[in-house]
């Protein structure tokens, strides 16, 4: 009987994994022994890191999306249908259209969503760059501010040792902000304050979640006259008086609050009841090596929904997809998974509007910062504008 693999989520993790599974299982697909379905709530695929560039007027909406169908191999059955309920015991799921899909293997690739409403006043008075509409609003503010105070805050999930979305993004945007204000000729009238919470995964009282980068940041910030402060865990925001209050008991006024907000898993994952994460955040209990969900038969998870201590970013999906593709293939052919994820994540950090810094890390090694360069910046531009789509298609 044919094995049915269902992937839920048309982001970069789900898309590249679906394409890689077709390659791995091509002979079984030709014989009709395996079929692959990808379910997404949108006909379009968004290059999510580009939202950060939208906030700095560097990307148009039309440039950051492609039809999902155009990124998938033709052997994949693609349906635009939102999953509304998982029945893990019965190995099937239900969708918005009323359909029921049975599966032998399920991959949850539904990502995470910003949840600024989880901090009092943040939704009303704060800005962020983690979706298109919010990034456009922030762009309008950043391009009109003439004088004042831009306050940067970072909120980590309450689940221990789980990072916020795209670890390096707050540093990237702080440096891009500095460049933007210099270009506009208002930098000397706008104060930038970068803050970091008391608890950042396994570190305390730091400026970044990994020590080597955290130790390099003061020098980089001082060169650009960016103020920085440790131990500011955003507790609440007074939207009317425009004051941010920390859990440590401090208050900071702002004209623009550029926040990395709390995040959570999507509703259908939260409602599945499988997560053991704190604060109803919904991260799935993930085997850090095989990427299977603990306690469930034939279920894998990729990308932002894992409860692992690695970045919630495409650079993590890029290394997880081959492991899951191998493991599902091995389960079908050999009866057990055979590949191990070592926690590898790679990226090119945007260090200001024109410079880039290639980086990588894994479970055993931290990022070792290197001097940002023009060539690194051009590499990032090349990735943003072209290489990404080849990665999503599973070509790179």
């Amino acid at each position: 009987m044919s094995k049915h693999i269902v992937i839920v989520g048309g982001g970069v993790g789900g898309t590249m994994l679906a394409n890689q599974l077709v390659t791995k299982l091509y002979s079984e697909i030709l014989r009709g022994e395996v079929c692959i379905t990808l379910l997404s709530n949108s006909p379009d695929h968004f290059y999510k890191p580009a939202f950060m560039y939208v906030a700095f007027n560097q990307f148009f909406d039309e440039e950051l999306k492609r039809p999902e169908r155009s990124l998938l191999r033709p052997e994949i059955d693609f349906r635009v249908d939102e999953v509304t309920r998982f029945d893990f015991a019965g190995q099937h799921l239900h969708t918005r259209s009323g359909k029921r899909y049975g599966y032998d293997f399920l991959v949850i690739a539904t990502g995470c969503v910003p949840a600024p409403e989880r901090i009092e006043g943040l939704k009303e008075a704060g800005d962020h760059f983690y979706d298109y509409a919010a990034a456009r609003r922030l762009a309008e503010r950043l391009n009109t501010i003439e004088r004042g105070r831009i306050f940067i805050s970072v909120s980590f999930p309450k689940t221990p040792n789980v990072p916020h979305q795209c670890g390096i993004a707050p540093v990237e945007t702080t440096l891009m902000l500095d460049d933007l204000l210099r270009r506009r000729g208002v930098r000397d009238k706008v104060e930038i304050i970068y803050t970091y919470p008391s608890v950042a995964q396994l570190l305390r009282n730091c400026l970044f979640m990994q020590r080597p980068v955290g130790e390099a940041l003061p020098g980089i910030f001082e060169q650009r006259n960016i103020r920085f402060q440790r131990d500011f865990t955003l507790g609440r925001v007074d939207a009317e008086r425009r004051i941010a209050y920390s859990e440590e008991g401090e208050e900071q006024p702002f004209d623009i609050l550029m926040a990395t907000p709390p995040i959570r898993a999507v509703d259908v994952v939260l409602e599945s009841g499988v997560s053991q994460a704190e604060n109803d955040e919904g991260w799935l209990p993930t085997n850090h090596e095989t990427l299977q969900v603990y306690g469930l038969q034939g279920v894998y998870v990729i990308g932002d929904t894992v409860d692992l201590p690695i970045s919630k970013a495409g650079g993590a999906c890029h290394n997880q997809a081959p492991v899951i593709a191998n493991n599902i293939t091995a389960e079908i052919r050999l009866g057990a998974p055979n590949s191990v994820y070592e926690g590898r994540v790679q990226a090119v950090a945007q260090m200001g509007l024109n410079a880039g810094m290639p980086l990588w890390y894994d479970y055993a090694h931290d990022v070792l910062p290197t001097p940002p360069s023009k060539l690194g910046g051009l590499l990032r531009t090349g990735f943003n504008r072209g290489l990404y789509w080849a990665v999503a298609r599973g070509m790179l």
């Binding site: 051009l378 531009t381 090349g382 072209g386 789509w389 070509m395």
Partner: protein
């Protein structure tokens, strides 16, 4: 005398590098390497965000077309090989009844139309 022997003090990394470079120095081909480095450096100087954006778009368009055509050829080959006997004329015509086939034919005809327009 080897260049490495002229170094004051001992720097293992530099010695290893110069030992590797020695054949190039001996044969006078080191100039080519320096010229290539200068050329790469000039290219980096000339590249800017806008040019990289155009090159990246070109890369995407080229890879997307080759990927689409490759996927179509691979799948069509597999389906054709799976048929025990060649399709009859009626079988070929019945392929045209499928919406995806008609869409593909329309794409091919429109491509020819646009090619003609550019002549």
């Amino acid at each position: 005398m080897d260049v490495a022997d002229t170094l004051p003090g001992h720097n293992a990394g530099l010695v290893a590098l110069l030992t590797k470079l020695q054949p190039l120095l001996d044969s006078g081909r080191m100039d080519n390497v320096v010229d290539v480095l200068a050329l790469v450096s000039d290219l980096v100087d000339m590249l800017d965000g806008a040019m990289v954006e155009k090159l990246a778009l070109l890369f995407e368009q080229a890879t997307a077309v080759s990927w689409n055509v490759g996927n179509a050829a691979r799948m069509a080959t597999a389906q054709t090989q799976a048929e025990e006997t060649p399709p009859s004329l009626y079988g070929l015509l019945s392929l045209l009844r499928e919406p995806d086939t008609r869409r593909g034919v329309a794409l091919a005809l429109r491509t020819l139309n646009v090619l003609g327009r550019q002549l």
